[in-house]
């Protein structure tokens, strides 16, 4: 049973490379819920929590963790007062499918909200490869807007080059720059748009390493720094500084399992504090960083 869940998850990602990892995780969790054989609701919840933990071990991104927790809360939010367990399970499965449908549409909603902020003739800077940013730029291009995009290379996995290829397919003029050239290029660009792996309680974001640098530079040059993220990426963390981000998010899952001394490893993500972010575009609307906490309280409490 351990392996089937992980296999299903991996199959989802392979089958649809465009899907967000959290959506794939939630699909696997829903399938797990359908196949689960426990006798009590408490047992069911425990199995679900275990399943989420196993998925986190496979893919240690923040989104999987936050998506999983929100899924669990959403399905158990209804009154599970039916005497029959299978009836309860059906209610939970129904809500799970509703949740899945809602979040599959969230990327589209974000794209629709954000593309109006891109004016004709704009020069945009973005970091690494984000599918949400791609959707936004796609919508803007479909709106017959002319703009150029600068993408950072984003080592160590050169994700930026993949982003550039996808943009070229959409006929958007794009240029790849080195990570070190962010300060150099900042005076040319009009706005910065990045995606997020997780949005934390303070309104800050966790994203690929190099985002914090870009935010500091854009603040120094007074350029707007926009973050696009779906609402299932909201997580109940509150880091005070870079050190305070938990280790299980900083490194990929395989490194966490194999390496003994994490201080020798280079982290894959960093934390951008809310004072550097201008606006966040989510499927709940356009939010300022201080409004994120309000939304989180509504989601979680």
């Amino acid at each position: 049973k351990d392996n089937t869940l992980v296999e299903y998850f991996r199959a989802q990602i392979r089958g649809d490379p465009d899907v967000a990892s959290a959506v794939a995780a939630i699909r696997s969790l829903l399938e797990f819920l359908r196949r689960d054989q426990s006798e009590t609701i408490l047992g069911l919840r425990e199995n679900m929590t275990q399943a989420i933990r196993r998925l986190e071990e496979t893919d240690s991104s923040v989104a999987v963790s936050s998506g999983g927790e929100l899924f669990l809360r959403f399905i158990s939010l209804t009154s599970l007062e039916h005497p029959d367990l299978s009836q309860c399970k059906n209610v939970m499965i129904e809500r799970g499918e509703l949740f899945l449908k809602k979040i599959s549409l969230s990327r589209g909603k974000v794209g629709k909200l954000c593309h109006t902020f891109i004016k004709d003739g704009a020069k945009i800077l973005t970091h690494s490869s984000s599918r949400v940013v791609l959707k936004v730029l796609e919508n803007a291009a479909a709106d017959n807007k002319r703009f150029t995009v600068y993408v950072t290379e984003s080592q160590p996995d050169s994700a930026g080059k993949r982003m550039a290829q996808k943009l070229r397919k959409l006929n958007i003029p794009v240029m790849v720059v080195l990570d070190a050239a962010v300060g150099y290029i900042m005076e040319k660009v009009d706005l910065v748009i990045v995606g997020a792996e997780g949005v934390v309680e303070s309104g800050g974001v966790i994203n690929k390493i190099g985002t914090y640098q870009m935010a500091v530079c854009s603040k120094a040059h007074n350029k707007p720094f926009y973050v696009v993220a779906e609402s299932f990426k909201f997580v109940r963390l509150y880091p005070l500084n870079q050190q305070d981000v938990p280790d299980r998010f900083k490194y990929t899952a395989d490194i966490l399992k194999t390496v003994k001394d994490l201080n020798q490893e280079h982290p894959m993500i960093d934390y951008t504090p809310p004072s550097l972010i201008t606006l966040l575009f989510t499927d709940l609307g356009v939010l300022t960083p201080s409004a994120v906490s309000d939304e989180l309280i509504k989601l979680y409490l």
Binding site: R236, L240, Q243, L301
Partner: protein, 549 residues
């Protein structure tokens, strides 16, 4: 209505606008429309205006009737349209119009008798209504000493020390409160809740605040045994004014325990209801306590809670049962909001303390000390730097408690702050209150620490229970603060105290501030019993709490 129309058509030398005004009042009352505070004030002002205009052509009877009219709409609650309520203004209107027609014919005595009869009928009609928490017919709507009203049009009276009219009003209010507490039968031995007088020259920016001396406590003038103020309240007031009980949580807990004692000793007088009478009994106590030392935000919230609980006691509840219920409420309030809250806050705060941390604390906050002790028990390795300041030197108490636990501590004065900050990894601060716009009100010196920590990029964490959140909004430390005894600033070194005769120097003022406000940009995180929130989310928590209640 026909009466008034008839009067107007009469064409007698009544000023027509006066009739219109009376019509307006009658209309409003009869339709059950609630006169808002502004409307009532406006009507009162206009009536005063009328009085001035007609001083010559109308005699005293008319004035007295108008004054009585002014007092009748004020305490009455036109919210419910009970027939008894409608009957009360109707005879007023009818008799008033009848009197107006034959004004010179009636004598003063007859009018007075009429008025008394009307007031009696009004009082009985009001007591017929079984609503909880109503004001008694004799009390006028007074501005509560609590400055936590959500709509504060002007500063509350007790803060306007430099306005002589406001001081006079306050003195009269104190007299009225203790007189109503005495009831009939006891001899009126003069004012028992004395108005405490200010001491020494006050710096002009803060002249609207009280400045008392510790050498003249308000309890000196109270007779023994105190007939109006309960003895444990007198003791509590003395403890507050002498600084024996200090600190936000300590003061609130002491207050609640004293109220438990008061409720225990309380017995309902024959024709009164516990839910209404007890609240009235508590008001002079609260005025007395705020004379001893101005109430804190946490105390204000506790008092609001108690008053709400008292007024929610159903009238058919027996006295012993009601008293037991109230005591249980108070116990659960202390347990939930203070004790359990500090446990929850410690749990969240311990996550933020990592091994090797250097933590800076300021003054003595019971909550921060509790967190550090708990973290030490959980085997976290950290050391603490305690920052202290004159004249209270509260840091010594914190130092004593932490060292007793075995935590490694360093002690500095606040002047050495910028020297020590490069070593610090986190700053933990306590709070006296969290204001609705995200500002943190705390011991004076806190905003200084937050400012310098921000400049050194050190995270600042404020720990505060949710019962200290208040609806007030404040952006500076001048508007509402507390001035402590200025003689505390006099220091004696080598037998010489230079400031001893500071009162003789006319241009010298000693300023001993107690609180200051820190803007939310300097605070990184607020840890409450609901979780970790940014400073800007305080109004969200207040909204959630109001929805719960």
């Amino acid at each position: 209505m026909a009466d008034s129309d008839g009067r107007q058509v009469d064409g007698v030398n009544h000023a027509t606008d006066k009739d219109v005004k009376l019509q307006e009042i009658a209309l409003a009352k009869n339709e059950g429309k609630e006169l808002t505070k502004e409307e009532k004030q406006r009507l009162r002002k206009e009536k005063k205006q009328h009085k001035k205009n007609k001083k010559d052509d109308k005699g005293p009877p008319e004035k007295e009737k108008e004054k009585e009219k002014a007092s009748v709409p004020a305490p009455s609650k036109p919210a419910t349209q009970s027939p008894a309520h409608k009957a009360a203004p109707a005879p007023v209107h009818a008799s008033e119009s009848a009197a107006a027609a034959e004004k010179p014919a009636k004598s003063k005595a007859e009018l007075r008798a009429e008025r008394r009869a009307r007031q009696d009928s009004e009082r009985t009609s009001k007591q017929g209504k079984k609503e909880g928490g109503q004001q008694s017919a004799s009390s006028k709507p007074k501005a509560t000493p609590n400055e936590l009203q959500p709509v504060v049009k002007r500063l509350p009276e007790h803060v306007q020390v430099d306005d002589p009219a406001a001081l006079k009003k306050l003195a009269k209010k104190l007299e009225r409160q203790q007189k109503s507490g005495q009831g009939c039968g006891l001899n009126k031995t003069g004012v028992e809740v004395p108005l405490r007088s200010d001491y020494g020259y006050k710096v002009s920016l803060f002249s609207h605040l009280h400045q008392y001396s510790r050498k003249s406590p308000p309890t000196l003038q109270i007779s023994i045994p105190a007939t109006v103020i309960h003895p444990s309240i007198v003791r509590l007031g003395l403890q507050y004014s002498q600084g024996i009980i200090a600190g936000s949580n300590a003061r609130s807990v002491a207050l609640l325990h004293t109220f438990k004692q008061v409720i225990q000793d309380y017995s309902t007088p024959p024709n009164e209801e516990l839910s209404r009478d007890l609240v009235n009994k508590l008001s002079p106590y609260i005025s007395f306590l705020s004379q001893c030392r101005p109430l804190s935000a946490s105390m204000g919230n506790a008092i609001k809670y108690i008053k709400k609980e008292i007024s929610n006691i159903p009238s058919q509840c027996k006295e012993e049962e009601a008293k037991g219920k109230l005591q249980a409420c108070i116990d659960s309030y202390i347990n939930e909001k203070i004790i359990l809250a500090s446990e929850a806050i410690s749990k969240y705060a311990i996550e933020k303390i990592s091994d090797g941390d250097v933590i800076l604390v300021y003054g003595c906050s019971s909550l921060v000390n509790h967190i550090l002790c708990k973290a030490f028990e959980k085997q976290r390795k950290f050391r603490v730097i305690v920052v202290d300041s004159r004249p209270r030197l509260e840091g010594r108490e914190a130092l004593r408690r932490l060292v007793k636990k075995g935590i490694r501590c360093t002690y500095v004065l606040i002047s050495a702050l910028s020297y020590i900050l490069p070593e610090v990894s986190k700053v933990f601060l306590g709070a006296h209150a969290l204001l609705a716009n995200g500002y943190v009100m705390s011991r004076v010196g806190t905003s200084q620490i937050a400012l310098v920590a921000k400049a050194y990029n050190v995270p600042v964490l404020v720990c505060c229970e949710t019962y200290k959140f208040c609806e007030r909004v404040q952006t500076d430390s001048f508007v509402s603060n507390e001035l402590d005894d200025p003689d505390d600033l006099i220091v004696t070194r080598n037998g010489k105290s230079h400031l001893e005769n500071w009162q003789t120097v006319k241009s010298l003022g000693l300023l001993n501030l107690v609180y200051d406000v820190t803007p939310p940009d300097f605070v990184d995180l607020v840890i409450t019993d609901l979780g970790m929130i940014p400073c800007t989310s305080v109004p969200v928590v207040l909204r959630v709490k109001n929805v719960d209640q």
